[in-house]
Structures are given as C-alpha cells and as structure tokens.
Symmetry: C2
C-alpha cells in the first residue's frame, strides 16, 4: 500500500481556515503562517488542487488571473474525518491538526491533546527504557557520549512536552 498522503488534507485545512484561497496564496501561507510546521512548493500545490477539484473536494471560482478554491460539502466531510483519525507516529501531525482548530471549544481539541499525551507518554517510557538498557554504567556513557547526550535530551524534551499537554487538559 502506498504511503499515506497528507498534502491534500493540509490544503483542505488551509482553505477551510480562510474559507477561500488561491494556489498562490496557499504557497504564501507555507512561507509564513503554517511554514513552521509544514511545507509544500507551488509545483505540488497546483496539480494537487486540480486533483482535488476532480475528486469534488473543492470547487473553484475565477477572479481575474487568480483561481480561488473553496471546500465542497464532500470536502468538509473529508477534512472532518481526517481530523478525527487518531494521530500516528508522525511528529508534526499534532501541530498541523492543531493549526486547523480555530475554536477553543471544539471537542476535537481535547481529543487531540489526549491522543498526543498518550503518544508522548509511551515515547517517554520507551526512551527511558532505552537509556537504562544502553547506558548501564559510566564506561558506556564515556564511550558513546554523543549518543548519551541526545538520548537524555530527547527524554527531557518529551517530559517538557508532556507537562505542557497536561497543563492544557
């Protein structure tokens, strides 16, 4: 099976946030707003929008030289379904989906935070396990100092993230 695509969902989410966007505006969004969490180049965006139009996820509207895209009813459904799919291991998925939640009372928000918390707690456990398994004595630390550093760093990062999540639940 082919790897799961996310670009179309990202486009849906972006268009949905602004109600109406052109391909060019989307590529600008990636240079600013969303840019810190996801990226796509215009040569991906245009063909993708065309495909999405063919699949009836979006409808378009020409205004001067620009073509604006809006979600269809199907598009809204597809987006909502994707938003509700459980988070996988992909690190940026959490940020990305969060970006598409505008309303602080949206029940999806809590669900997302809980899912991420679970994922991160598991990862924390796993990393702790790795640490005590790989670095059993000071000799091992000395002989693989860089590895020791990133592993402990990764653990602290997860801890910090878990704390943050807990504070917003």
């Amino acid at each position: 099976m082919p790897k799961k695509r996310i670009l179309p969902y990202v486009l849906l989410g972006l268009i949905n946030n602004k109600k109406k966007l052109s391909g060019y505006q989307i590529s600008q969004e990636f240079k600013h707003e969303v840019g810190d969490f996801w990226h796509a180049s215009h040569s991906q965006i245009y063909p993708e929008l065309a495909r999405m139009k063919e699949d009836n996820w979006v409808k378009d509207e020409e205004e001067g030289k620009a073509t604006y895209y809006m979600l269809t009813t199907t598009g809204h459904e597809v987006l909502r379904n994707w938003m509700q799919e459980p988070l996988d291991g992909n690190e940026e998925m959490f940020s990305l989906k969060l970006y598409f939640i505008n309303d602080s009372t949206d029940p999806l928000l809590k669900k997302l935070l809980e899912q991420e918390l679970k994922l991160k707690q598991d990862k924390y456990e796993y990393l702790q396990g790795r640490l005590s398994k790989v670095f059993t004595d000071k000799e091992k630390i000395k002989a693989n100092f860089g590895h020791y550093l990133i592993l402990t760093r990764a653990i602290e990062r997860e801890k910090n993230h878990i704390e943050w999540l807990k504070n917003r639940l």
Copy 2:
C-alpha cells in the same frame, strides 16, 4: 543544485562508530540505536554502499555471506569535513551529528552545542516575533486558538532546548 544528501554521511558515521559494519547490520542499527533520529531502508542502504565504495569512501571485506564495510582514509576525511560543516536549519542534524561524537573531549562537541544554541536562539526570537505580530489581542487568539497553542508550544520547546544547551556549555 540538487538537494544535499545526508544518507552517505550517516552511513560513514555509523560505520565509523563501529569500525566495521555490513549492510544488514546498518539496517538493524536504524531499527534500534540511531532509529530515533534517522532512518533508511535496506533498499537505500545497499546501493548507497556500492556508490560509496566506487567513490572510495569505504572498502569492503567479505566474510561468509556478509560484506563488511570500513572507512578508507578518504572516508575519514569526508566524514570529518561533513561533521565540521555548520548546522543548517535541519532539525535532526544536531542529534545525528551528536550521535557520531563518541568522545566527550572532542572539540567538535562544544562547537556543535554552540552552533545549535545560536540556531535555537534565533528561532526563539523569530517565534516570539511571530507571536507578538500575529496575536495582537485576545480576539485573534480566540479566533485562531489552535495556531496560538502550537506557536506558544513551539516557543516553550525552544526555551527548554536552549536551557539544556546552556547547561552543557
């Protein structure tokens, strides 16, 4: 110009750490040790090793059914040069390079930490700028709550990372 490849350098680093590795062993490394910071499948590894042998970065040695690879003098030079190249924006580059530093007295260690600190401080500034630029009042926060959350989360993450880096310098 083509996008900068890192796989060959990762392979150099891994082989260098263990002095001698087969393609299979490398693919196992990705499932365990390095796996948290980088990944490659065996179908990338084998052809890459062949290319590296052609370029004289590694030499091989057959033992039974397995082919073991070791760095050549050129390979050591290439690896060292790559390790000394300044860190770019790529997030995992820091972890990866750190993984290849075994000795805590290696001067590269301090250099790496300093480079990463600089990068993260810049990013911190940038994100703070974004925050005060995008979320000027409570209305904006309310209307884009998810975006607000990840932005503040990203800022806290950088802060935490910066602290960690400072504590090791």
